[in-house]
């Protein structure tokens, strides 16, 4: 599904050069649920931005769903984001002046989809997250958990190849967090590939596979099999 090889990203300012990602390689199969963890400052956010085509990268290659998305221009990247990727943000990022229904259909509008099909997809997505009854509500009238579920509906409405979740439960209490995680698992079981960035090891445990990013480089390690085993963090140089 997703194939990144030796990806590098450098931030250059007048004073210094930061290698946010170096020699970064990752491979994700369709239907996988991958958690990406790491301490703050490790490059998780850069990884997210690059994977989500929110930013370009300087070296290496990136294939998504069979297409080479390494050196695309801005318009082409937008197109890929629209059709292949579904985003879920830590602070929900719903548009406050639009109601739930209008929020969910935003990506569909950019796809120039017809009204009937939009209505259909929005309805299905809201049904899936269990918020069909709130379609006319505004974000300010919803709880945090509900807002995140709307965001998930928005991410799903366009039938993306992968879902990119950035700390999806970071702003939620434990009850809501569990609800959202349950939803994500359900979506994954239905076949959607999910890459979730988190610093919470508890959350990471719910994924199939854990990948760790330290200093812009990746460490791949399998999830532990048993309960309560200490999480081993090891930095390994990757060829």
């Amino acid at each position: 599904m997703l194939e990144m090889k030796n990806v590098g990203k450098v931030y250059r300012t007048e004073l210094l050069e930061t290698h946010a990602l170096r020699d970064f390689s990752l491979s994700v199969e369709p239907g996988e649920f991958v958690a990406v963890t790491g301490p703050s400052g490790s490059g998780k956010t850069t990884f997210l931005n690059v994977t989500g085509l929110l930013e370009s990268f300087d070296s290496g290659s990136y294939f998504l769903d069979g297409d080479d998305v390494s050196r695309l221009d801005d318009d082409a990247r937008s197109r890929v984001r629209n059709r292949k990727i579904g985003f879920i943000f830590q602070s929900f990022n719903l548009i406050p002046d639009l109601d739930v229904r209008d929020n969910v259909e935003v990506p569909l509008r950019y796809r120039r989809m017809g009204a009937a099909e939009r209505r259909d997809r929005v309805g299905k997505a809201l049904d899936l997250v269990g918020l069909a009854s709130r379609s006319r509500h505004y974000p300010s009238q919803l709880s945090g958990g509900q807002q995140q579920r709307v965001a998930i509906a928005r991410a799903l409405a366009g039938d993306p190849a992968i879902l990119l979740a950035d700390e999806p439960t970071g702003n939620l209490d434990s009850l809501m967090a569990r609800q959202v995680m349950d939803l994500l698992e359900q979506i994954n079981i239905m076949g959607t590939t999910i890459i979730m960035v988190t610093h919470d090891p508890e959350l990471a445990r719910r994924a199939h596979r854990n990948v760790q990013v330290i200093d812009g480089q990746i460490t791949d390690f399998k999830p532990y099999e048993g309960p309560h085993a200490p999480v081993q963090l090891e930095a390994q140089a990757h060829a």
Binding site: F92, P139, S140, G144, N171
Partner: protein, 442 residues
Amino acid sequence: MFAYDLRLAALSLKRHPGLSALMMLAVALGIAVCTITFTVYHAMATNPIAWKGDQLYAVTVDSWDPEEPANDKQPEMPPEQLTYRDAIALKASDIPARSLVMFKSERVVDPQQSAHKAFRTIIRVTHGDFFPMFETPFLYGSGWDRDADAGPEPVIVLSKESNEKAFGGENSVGRTVRLGDNEFRVVGVLDDWEPAPKFYDLNNGNFQKGEDAFIPFLWGETLELPAVGNTNCWKSQTIESFRDFLNSECVWVQMWAELPDRETRERYQGFIDNYVRGQKTAGRLARPLNNRLFDVDAWLDFNKVVKKDNRVLIGIALLFLAVCLVNVVGLLLSKFLNGAAMTGLRRALGASRKDVIRQHMTEVLLVGLAGGVLGLLLAAAGLAGIRVIYGDNYDRYDQLTQIDPVVVLLTLGLSLLAGFVAGMYPAWRIGHTSPAVYLKTQ
């Protein structure tokens, strides 16, 4: 608390410098345009002798054509001037405390015993009462008395400017000037006196340059001085001599009376009406009785000193200010609502609704004040520009464009009021937003 509000306001303005500058500019432009327009309007609408407003009266008699009114735009009004014979007849009455009849003429003045050149002067041919009635200031000497009127004595009062030209500005009382073939003795020199508008004679423009010299009225007849100004005759008459002209139905004489109280006024009105009735039996003054006494305000109104144009301009200036204010309200609203998170935080920390409104209004008033001051500066520049462009003209534009302290105060008051009005709604809105909504993450 106010100092704190001020600090918060200043900080808030600095946070968005572009927006703050734009708001101040909008207020400034609106204020500047209004100030310039008001200044000109105020100059036109002023009664320069307002303190004597209800004592001075312009005297008119409807001596016009029985077939049609003197002024077809104001058909119920009499002509603004009198015929010579009517003026003389009315002057004979001793009912008014003071009175005068006058007209404007011109002569070449040749100062004697002086090295200075001859020059043409505008002469006002009037009675000695002119000076106390209109309270003209004197630099040297004084006017002449009623005996000098009766003579007439060859006395003359010079304006400050003509005294400069003829005598280099010295005290010329007692010296003589030559008007044509006649010698006149200087009895007084006026100080600066340019009433704006020139209410006592609006015939050739509302802001005309003042006269250069004044001589007693009866010299007009004796020297056959030409009437320069407006001469209007409705009747075709054979006019072959100066005497014919004086006896004609042409109107060219102005008349003013000082009537200190209502009783005097009514008596005088009665006298005038009786005179006209008497003339009717002699076959003159065939129009219906319409002899009016105008106080200065009414006189200025009758002569349409404030033109249609000025009123249109006031309207447009106010509309322009409205656009500027709508602009500012929109910008303020956006700015305040955008700071809602910060405000919500303050509310959570204990600020009341009133505190929030007061704090935001302080910011608005700062904008209004800054805009007002800037606007005044722009207005001063604009008025100076008008003076420069229009310099010398029939109507003296520099009289119209002096910044009046009254106008300055009004302007600053207006800018504060404008700021207040503009800021009311945005401040109210931000004060009444529920803090919870904006404190939620998003």
